[in-house]
């Protein structure tokens, strides 16, 4: 499969590894329930000192689809999103965007985005927050995929045959 094949995951992945790590952290936090993310951060003990860069706020993004699933773009409908930006000790700036209207969720995404850029925090974030979220997400996905597999059918068409006399 070549790069333009839509079935290849991560088409938008930037070349540099740090950006890829940031994308992964964003995805894991955004796709996890805020309470689950909160529980992970609570297990962290110390957290970096933060200073907010702009007020956390809620807005909309227009969700787009493609005609036929792979053609011209069109506007499907809107999705509320919360966004936050923080600076942590050491200067790293984190940005968070998560679907929904939960300010804390967006702030945790921004915090994680800043921590992953910091050599002091990257490893701990991975172990205490990101890895458990990834594991939980994988379980959720696998459970659904197994439920779906249990409903897989083989329709067959009846073939009329005449018995030999």
């Amino acid at each position: 499969m070549n790069q333009s094949d839509p079935l290849v995951a991560g088409q938008n992945r930037p070349a540099n590894a740090l950006a890829a790590a940031r994308q992964r952290a964003h995805a894991l936090i955004a796709k996890s329930h805020p309470a689950t993310v909160q529980a992970c951060f609570a297990r962290m003990g110390d957290l970096p000192q933060t200073s907010p860069l702009r007020p956390t706020e809620i807005g909309l993004i227009m969700v787009r689809g493609r005609v036929g699933g792979d053609g011209q773009r069109f506007n499907l409908g809107e999705l509320p999103v919360a966004r936050a930006a923080v600076r942590i000790d050491g200067g790293a700036v984190g940005v968070g965007y998560v679907a929904g209207r939960d300010h804390d969720h967006a702030e945790m995404a921004a915090l994680a985005d800043a921590m992953i850029q910091s050599d002091n925090w990257r490893e701990q974030l991975e172990d205490v927050v990101l890895a458990p979220l990834a594991a939980e997400l994988a379980i959720r996905k696998t459970t659904n995929a197994r439920k779906a597999a249990a409903t897989k059918v083989d329709f067959f068409t009846m073939v009329r045959t005449r018995a030999e006399k």
């Binding site: 839509p6 079935l7 995951a9 938008n12 930037p14 950006a19 940031r22 994308q23 964003h26 995805a27 955004a30 796709k31 807005g59 909309l60 993004i61 227009m62 969700v63 787009r64 689809g65 493609r66 005609v67 036929g68 699933g69 792979d70 053609g71 011209q72 773009r73 069109f74 506007n75 499907l76 409908g77 809107e78 999705l79 509320p80 999103v81 966004r83 930006a85 940005v95 965007y97 998560v98 679907a99 929904g100 209207r101 996905k141 696998t142 459970t143 659904n144 995929a145 197994r146 439920k147 779906a148 597999a149 249990a150 409903t151 897989k152 059918v153 083989d154 329709f155 067959f156 068409t157």
Partner: protein
Amino acid sequence: MAYVSVKGGERAISNAHQWLDEARRGDCGVGEIGVDQIREQLALAVDRVMMEGSCYDRDLAAMAIKQARGDVTEAIFLLRAYRTTLARFGASEPIETQKMDVLRRVSAAFKDIPGGQILGPTFDYTHRLIDFDETEAAKAPLAEDSIDRVIPTIGHVLGHESLLEPAPPEDENTAEPYDLTREPMAFPATRDQRLQALARGDEGFLLSLAYASQRGWGNTHPLCGEIRLGEVAVELVPEELGFAIEVGEITVTECQMISNFEGSADRPPQFTRGYGLSFGHNERKAMSMAIVDRALRHAEVGETPAHAVQDEEFVLYHSDNVEASGFVQHLKLPHYVDFQAELQFVRRLRKEWFAARENPSTIAEAAE
């Protein structure tokens, strides 16, 4: 002349709204329903309100349904009103339905479609009988193995032979897709504009149009190429970052209808497609949308439009239930001045009519 504003009635209005609150609550001896219960247990009503309200937020949609006493159209109005209060941060990257984490996927056309027929949580094949013996919900059985991680779409399955028309490529001349929330309806409509309007459109209206089209008031004889339900990631490229991040996942239903096309001077015979996409789980909506989308493409395949479903002005001007409901229901509001004027007019006509009957010559004279 439209209705004119009236003054007064504030106390009656306030009292009526308090009664509405009381009536909404119903019998206080029965426990109050929670927004979370609506979100979890009336999920398909929530899905419909999110799509036609054009705002994917399960909690808000559930809250709207509760406050609208279960009146779905009223709830859609509440959600549409809410969305106008928020700023627009941007637009997502197009969702990639080919990469959907599939929960359900069936094709009525291809029995042996790669990836298989996956029924998922469906009403299909149920007996549609009320179960008077409501027992605790069953647990979904788990298969040993998962379904394939990526299930190919019908476009991938048939596309390589050109038996199925390819999806229209991006128009290089348009920088951004048409946005009905920013631009007024204009005709002739482009396909992106039509699909946005149909996605927001009233399910009942589209269902009836699709039904009429199938029955002969249209020219659509489709087969359901594929329906898929599942979760897709929503990606956004925030300015601050300059690269795409996933901001969450949404559940969507996608429908690809296929109709045969016998060919024209320019195009070989092939299957043509109609496309439907909806927030949440709503196959009736996605299928109706796909049939109406295909019917509106009559010019592309050289069909002669002869029916309502093929008339884009008729379809797109009347598909929005917030507008439709507003225009029909505004007739309830005071029209006293209009009525006074019409009353005078009808009285004069009656006077003239009776006068003419008593003395026919006056009419003849007046006419000369």
